[in-house]
């Protein structure tokens, strides 16, 4: 690491995170004074973005090679009052909470009090959503049956494709012009709407070009006043880059990186989409530029690495937007889920690993930053040494990169109706979500609490916590003679709640389509221009909405225990079990012991695994292919991020012996500590799920460091991964840490400030996690080496 990078890295790591009022202030001015009610909503939104990008402060650090900040300075995080409005209390919580604070200045609080809150109260998307939801949705939401992704952030979950490396914004403007001319005002009843949409895209293109030009101006200005000739040259060169992109198609590696970065800042300034935005297939998109520059002799490997490091710093400068309400108290991460994809196959289906792949892995190892997150796509065509290179980084205990199965992703995409080429250019974004990069709007709608629905089934539709009859009356479980009767009742409840969720999400999609178009994101998402439709209206080539199942391991173990103990072996009556659940197993160790005898998911045992398969089939069947509001369909994926902790908190004792309030299993991993037959047995169990029918599954495996120590261990891990992927497993990630280390870190956090662990689809500082999450990670089974 050279001194430039060292300097930038230290600054980005040490800089305090603050809430910036800049954006909120600018958009309030815009909607107060500049906007004309004659403009259509899409055009208003585009002009609003333009207003922000033309007036926000330009920040350039003298050390930087890639420029552009969302806030007035690094780690100053803007707010999005048109989506959700922070109250003064929220700001106070953000400022004062011990873990992961966002500092709020007195000035910001004052502006919020006097200007932002009075203007936006009653006008936010969040308020529109809650007002539009029916009582049963609200009751289910409050009971913790599901969460709602769109209540604080705009729809996102998308990654950039290859379009921007082939076209500059001026080229896109020419395309827009073409489509504008082709609008048929005689036959097309949506002609006017289409015109407004295309105009909004055109304005958004101008807005980002203007933003880049402002950087070019500033850099030229600095160059003029610079005495140091080397620095002067550097400013001039950067100014030239900013003058060229995004207006023109990039020609060099530097231009391609800067182009992407302006776009990234633009998209996360326009709104606060989930997962920020993502450069997608990093080594595929950037390799042609890298290769050409190296061959021309205009770039060295070292210079390329320096640019990449600068690029990495930019992501780290941008923490996730701060939450509001209860989530502000509980949400504990700055991570915003940008996931760099490396490896996989090329669009013509060849080994995609190239020189830039390895160089980027070097950067990931050396930078060791939580953002951006990184992953490797492993195809059967990729060489083992690629996996081993990644494993050596994983072995350093930083949770990155995670490991994905390219061959499974391609099959998932094709099964979901994507073209073969689009499938090969696909990848995973966020935690583990597969998508056709640059061509798909694939939004997550919310986590779905599978075990809670069992609790409600066992109470004949009543939620024992909120004391509301939110479910259907499917019968008193004491009257069920067979396991099948019980399972049917669960199915009925599941269907009931999925209906509520989907109905709500369809309404929310229509609210966003109508009130919150995103012209800039649409501009770079294929086929929005062609369809003259916004990203949030279904303009993209593919439109998928996901429901994320949570607690697969827990629900499988619960049904296994019920089947084994109540029906098959008749060890315990339903009446006694329900009574014990009510009392949270108090003083009933013998019963807990009995419950523990039931077969458990994660041990390659068909008794439990077959139950899991059945649950999967039912959940998949009830959701998949149901239409959403954007012309696409609903699908499922299986991940929990940190939601298994929240869902566990609001769920009582369960038949697998889990006590009230304890976190559920996470992702598709077995219940913490229930897997006792080693990693091959876990992988076998987990692979019994039909991964290809999902849009992503998340498996966490905790290994002790000796698992990674020598060549032989690494080679075995390569085979372990290959075998899992042969069984169509979607993803696996590794925590390499001992329990002893984690316990010490809990006791002496001051000595473990740098300890990073894999949480779910992302890594985080262990000491920043809530105690509940820390405990959950410690309880996961750690595989040792034999």
């Amino acid at each position: 690491m050279n001194s430039r990078i060292k300097n930038l890295r230290t600054k980005t790591r040490e800089k305090e995170v603050t809430v910036s009022h800049e954006r909120a202030n600018l958009i309030t001015d815009f909607f107060k004074t500049h906007v004309s009610i004659n403009e259509s909503i899409p055009v208003q939104r585009a002009l609003c973005l333009k207003h922000v990008l033309e007036n926000k402060k330009i920040f350039i650090d003298a050390n930087e090679l890639i420029v552009g900040e969302r806030g007035p300075e690094p780690k100053a995080v803007p707010t999005y009052p048109e989506i959700c409005l922070h109250s003064l209390e929220d700001l106070e919580v953000l400022d004062s909470r011990l873990k992961v604070p966002y500092k709020v200045s007195e000035e910001t609080t004052a502006i919020y009090k006097e200007k932002i809150i009075p203007f936006w109260k009653g006008k936010t998307i969040r308020e529109k959503i809650f007002a539009a939801m029916e009582d049963q949705w609200i009751d289910s939401f409050n009971a913790g049956i599901f969460t709602e992704f769109q209540e604080q952030r705009s729809p996102g979950h998308t990654a950039g494709g290859e379009l921007i490396y082939q076209k500059g914004f001026n080229d896109l403007k020419t395309d827009i012009e073409q489509y504008l001319e082709n609008i048929d005002f005689f036959e097309d009843k949506n002609a006017l709407e289409k015109k407004e949409i295309l105009n909004s895209f055109d304005i958004a293109a101008d807005a980002l070009i203007a933003f880049a030009n402002r950087h070019a101006d500033e850099l030229e200005f600095r160059a003029k006043g610079e005495k140091d000739s080397k620095q002067k040259l550097e400013f001039e060169n950067m100014a030239r880059v900013c003058r060229r992109v995004p207006a023109n198609k990039p020609e060099t590696f530097h231009e391609a990186l800067q182009y992407y970065w302006f776009l990234h800042v633009g998209i996360i300034t326009e709104l606060n989409p989930w997962d920020a935005y993502n450069p997608g297939r990093f080594d595929q998109n950037f390799y042609p530029f890298y290769k050409r520059d190296i061959e021309n002799g205009t770039l060295t490997r070292e210079a390329a690495k320096e640019l990449l490091c600068c690029f990495w710093i930019k992501f780290h400068n941008h923490p996730a937007p701060p939450k509001v309400g209860v989530t502000a108290k509980e949400s504990n991460t700055y991570v915003d889920f940008c996931l760099i994809n490396l490896g996989g196959v090329t669009k013509d289906n060849q080994d995609g690993v190239n020189e830039l792949t390895y160089l980027t892995l070097d950067v990931i190892e050396e930078m060791r930053l939580l953002q951006p997150s990184s992953m490797i796509q492993v195809s059967r065509k990729n060489p083992d040494r690629f996996i081993k290179r990644a494993l050596k980084i994983i072995a350093t205990g930083f949770g990155q990169p995670s490991v994905f199965n390219t061959d499974a992703i391609i099959q998932e995409m094709i099964l979901h109706g994507k073209s073969v080429e689009d499938a090969r250019k696909a990848g995973a974004s966020g935690c583990v979500e597969a998508g056709a990069f640059g061509k798909e709007c694939y939004i997550l709608t919310g986590y779905f609490n599978l075990p809670k629905i069992l609790e409600i089934t066992l109470h004949n539709g009543l939620d024992p916590r909120t004391k509301k009859q939110i479910g259907l009356k499917t019968g008193d479980p004491k009257t069920f003679d067979t396991f099948e009767q019980l399972f049917d009742a669960y199915k009925t409840q599941l269907e009931h709640f999925i209906d509520i969720k989907i109905k709500g999400s369809n309404i929310i999609e229509q609210i966003n389509a109508k009130y919150m178009p995103v012209p800039l994101l649409s501009l770079v998402t294929e086929d929005c221009i062609k369809n003259a439709k916004d990203y949030n209206q279904g303009g993209a080539r593919y439109n998928t909405s996901y429901i994320q199942g949570v607690g697969m391991g827990t629900i499988a173990d619960c049904f296994s225990s019920l089947k084994y103990n109540v029906y098959d072996e008749e060890n315990i009556s339903m009446e006694k079990l329900l009574d014990a659940l009510k009392k949270n197993f108090e003083e009933n160790d013998f019963l807990l012991y009995r419950l523990d005898q039931a077969p458990k998911y994660g041990n390659d045992n068909d008794y439990a695994d077959e139950i899991l398969k059945t649950i999967f089939k039912v959940f998949h069947g009830l959701v998949t292919e149901r239409p959403n509001a954007k012309g696409g369909v609903y699908r499922i994926n299986l991940l929990s991020t940190t939601c298994h902790v929240y869902f566990g908190e609001i769920t009582g004792a369960l038949p697998d012996g889990r006590k009230k309030g304890v976190p559920f299993s996470e992702g598709i991993s077995p219940v913490q500590g229930a897997d006792r037959c080693g990693p091959t047995a876990v992988l076998k169990s987990v692979a019994k799920i039909d991964h290809l029918k999902t849009g992503g599954t998340l498996l966490n495996q905790k290994f002790l460091p000796d698992f990674f120590k020598e060549k032989k261990e690494l080679q075995a891990l390569v085979h372990l991964i290959r075998s899992y992927f042969k069984m169509d497993g979607h993803h696996v990630q590794f925590n390499v840490v001992s329990e002893e280390t984690l316990r010490k870190a809990q006791k002496y956090p001051e000595n473990y400030q740098d300890l990073i662990v894999r949480v779910a689809g992302y890594s985080d500082y262990f000491v920043d996690l809530t105690v509940a999450l820390q405990e959950e990670i410690i309880l996961r089974t750690a595989h040792t080496s034999f």
Binding site: K684, K712, A716, H719, S723, F786
Partner: protein, 251 residues
């Protein structure tokens, strides 16, 4: 997991008991009682069970073995019969070896070499790789640290050397017991004069079995003994190599 009185433990994802990813079956019962034994619970003979059907026992174990086929195939792994001493249960061992061969599963037998020569030679015909321990060459020391005479171990190895079976020799490097220069020199001489083997795997002592002794109320001779230093391991490696051996550290 289907463990029984014949096999006290089944370990999946074993990567130090032969090539690739393996499932190791630990047989109950061992005639030796090595001071450094990692599996002291395996030393007692298996409980007598009245007329249990060996075919059925083998079938149950095969089911467990076959669970990880996909991992064996990818990594060039298979199953390892260890212990205890697998040669002590020839009826079960032969059945398992035959069935694995029929199903094309790679097999290793991990043996102390202390067993009936006839059984060993029969195993040699059925197995893909024999992992054979050579610990101490001095009769007195062998008796002291393992409880039995060394003659049989050496003689069996000589006989094996006349067969075609693949053998991987393993030398447990135990501080203060097997690590003396003289012991190593004499092992080298024996191997060169009486066998065809010129490869050896050094297995440095580790303390994995430590906790077991207390719970079994057995005397732990290794108390306070530290694993050999890296330098010591490299010295021993060098000692073998300078006599023309090819050396690997670890299983």
């Amino acid at each position: 997991m289907l463990e029984n009185s014949y096999v006290f433990k089944i370990q999946r994802y074993s990567i130090h008991d032969g090539p690739g990813i393996r499932t190791t079956l630990f047989f109950q019962g061992c005639p030796l009682s090595c001071h450094w034994c990692h599996n002291p619970e395996s030393q007692a003979k298996p409980l007598k069970t009245n007329g249990e059907d060996m075919d059925r026992v083998a079938a149950g174990l095969m089911e467990e073995i076959e669970k990880d086929l996909i991992f064996y195939d990818d990594s060039g792994g298979g199953v390892t019969f260890s212990g205890g001493e697998p040669l002590c249960q020839p009826q079960l061992l032969f059945r398992l070896l035959d069935q694995c061969r029929e199903k094309e599963i790679h097999t290793c037998v991990d043996t102390s070499g202390y067993g009936d020569a006839k059984i060993l030679l029969k195993v040699a015909k059925k197995v893909d790789l024999i992992l054979y321990d050579i610990k101490l060459i001095d009769e007195k020391a062998h008796k002291q640290y393992t409880g039995k005479s060394v003659a049989r171990v050496l003689d069996n190895l000589k006989q094996l050397s006349n067969q075609t079976a693949a053998v991987r020799l393993r030398f447990p490097l135990i501080p203060e017991m097997t690590d003396k220069d003289e012991n190593i020199d004499r092992i080298i001489v024996f191997l060169k004069e009486d066998t065809i083997y010129r490869d050896i795997h050094i297995l440095p002592f580790h303390r994995a079995g430590e906790g077991k002794y207390q719970s079994l109320s057995m005397k732990n001779y290794m108390e306070g003994i530290q694993p050999p230093s890296k330098k010591k391991v490299l010295n021993v490696k060098e000692q073998f190599e300078s006599s023309g051996f090819s050396v690997t550290i670890g299983g």
